[in-house]
Subunit: 392 residues, 2 copies
Amino acid sequence: MNINQHYLELQDSYLFSLVTKKVNAYKEKNPSKEVIRLGIGDVTLPLVPAVVEAMQKAVAEQGEKSTFKGYGEEQGYEFLRQTICQYYSEKKVSLSDTEVFISDGAKSDIGNILDIFDIDNTVLIPDPVYPVYVDTNVMAGRKIIYANGTVENNFSPLPDENIKADIIYLCSPNNPTGAVYNKEQLESWVSYALKHDAVILFDSAYETFIQDESLPTSIYQIEGAEKCAIEFCSLSKTAGFTGTRCGYTIVPHALIRNNTSLNKLWLRRQTTKFNGVPYIVQKGAEAVFSNDGLQQIKENIAYYMENAKLISGTLKELNIWHVGGENSPYIWLKCPNDMTSWDYFDYLLENAQVVGTPGSGFGSNGEGFFRLSAFGERKNVIEAMERLRKLK
Amino acid sequence: MNINQHYLELQDSYLFSLVTKKVNAYKEKNPSKEVIRLGIGDVTLPLVPAVVEAMQKAVAEQGEKSTFKGYGEEQGYEFLRQTICQYYSEKKVSLSDTEVFISDGAKSDIGNILDIFDIDNTVLIPDPVYPVYVDTNVMAGRKIIYANGTVENNFSPLPDENIKADIIYLCSPNNPTGAVYNKEQLESWVSYALKHDAVILFDSAYETFIQDESLPTSIYQIEGAEKCAIEFCSLSKTAGFTGTRCGYTIVPHALIRNNTSLNKLWLRRQTTKFNGVPYIVQKGAEAVFSNDGLQQIKENIAYYMENAKLISGTLKELNIWHVGGENSPYIWLKCPNDMTSWDYFDYLLENAQVVGTPGSGFGSNGEGFFRLSAFGERKNVIEAMERLRKLK
């Protein structure tokens, strides 16, 4: 009997626990100071009325014999899969509903998708990045190489023809940097993947935050992507579903490796190890895409994007280098005066009582950088920005 | 780029699709005949009022800024973990709430738990059994050996000291056979596991159907089990959550292998690859264990158990060998006249218009056996039993 030894190779993540520890220590020493948190990646606005109404109705249905729903298809109800196809058709992407898999969120599927790939594949992961990409591959014992995000490439690394990767993670708009790939940049990734027989795992969890209509909101807006990419999306940030749990994964029928359909492999994985998303939640998710739902979530996103604008506007004013905030809820800044990420964290906490997230927690290229989030309350964002201005 | 080749070793499961195909073909040829399905493993009674009320309230909370819940702890809200500890204390099992992990159902966790174990471990699986145990291990490329369920051992196989297994699956009350291990039998499994350093994966999804108070409803009622067993439970059958999705997994702190806490490994797995169960669903699950909730689900279980009694009583009357039905919603019968499972399926469909599940779909020892389920409607069960009686 042995445990999976790869788990012992995982680095403990102290990022958010250390943030909490430092904030609590500061508050204890300075009980009169009001600390503002701009570090959180969670939403703060509640579910929109269209979603609440749909879920109330669904709960009532589950309490009546004539409308009760037991097991549904593991890949999700057809009503929701077709709704998502309709949503994609408005992006000029044509999908079949059997290419859509409803999930309990992008995080689960991004981790679980690795089941269908060989352990010997080499994985290319941007640095800095959402830590789950790295950890799930360490757990499986896969070889990981990194694509470096830097100031020079605006934290949007491009493929290197000299490097051979089999599985490529892309996240656009990016967490933590807020950087967004344009059409040409994504074309170069798709072209690399097609040439090298690689599969792109495209995380588009923040796609609804894209304001610039020339930027792709789905990898399938790039020609040929259906032959080399799986797309993961989530309602967590789109519609405030972080505590309600629903997302979806697109595995095109055209995606074939070793003469095998990856769609069929994923269907087999999901029917064997998953039992679908609650009916109630799927009805809530369907309502997100109704006319009322879309209008209501648009207002919430506008609220967060106004916060982002206030943050990036202030950073511009203060001449602090940054990306993000225009088409994403995250702003990624270079710590002033060459401070390290944690030094800047301490400096902001001590001098402005503003909490952000140290960039070094997202990979070695994150050292010297810092993430601010637009998911807070307007008045707190305004107050935090005033404090930043007073710091100079 | 290679796919996980082990997926190609999976046997396609035609069981339920072939059942559906045959039933549809029969109905097309015999439109006037009323077919009764006693094959389903899904519940038919709706959610109880206590659960519906709790979820209605939780949905409303999610629509208000002051009560909105975003990300929760991946392992579940403390209120639910503590409620489950309380439920176990009534079983005379003492748990800490950090030993309880809330899941979206037993199926997910039973598949995903394999992540924390080495690929080279040998797995012992009863035959016949719930196909997920086998398929998830085939997917990972583990060596599988079988514990044979037979008429002689009442489909409750016991450990064989000459066989070395690292991971052992037990399911009691069993799906598909309905057989339940008694205390002494479980003691022999725990003793084997402790001696051989094995880990028991104990699936107790049907524990609430146990009527005989001398039978264990948790593996932890056996001394020493906390050092060798993980328990998986689900509200799917307990409280009709098949479409609402909530279960829980117990990983004791005392369970150590390679000097490593399996509880910590599972926590790391879940925090990395899972984002928790919807708040709304966790509030519904909490209500299952309230006084009202427990009373209401007890009535539903009594309804199903009365169905089971009608079925097993009829089989006794007809002198058909069977197990199950006294402490489980499944009845496992030996096909009369040495018919194969599919022959008996066809025979029942043609001559009584009753649909069950061929035992051969659950493993080679299931050949010649047949599963009937008590989850149907009372009037249909009564009618089906009358038709069986007329067959002799």
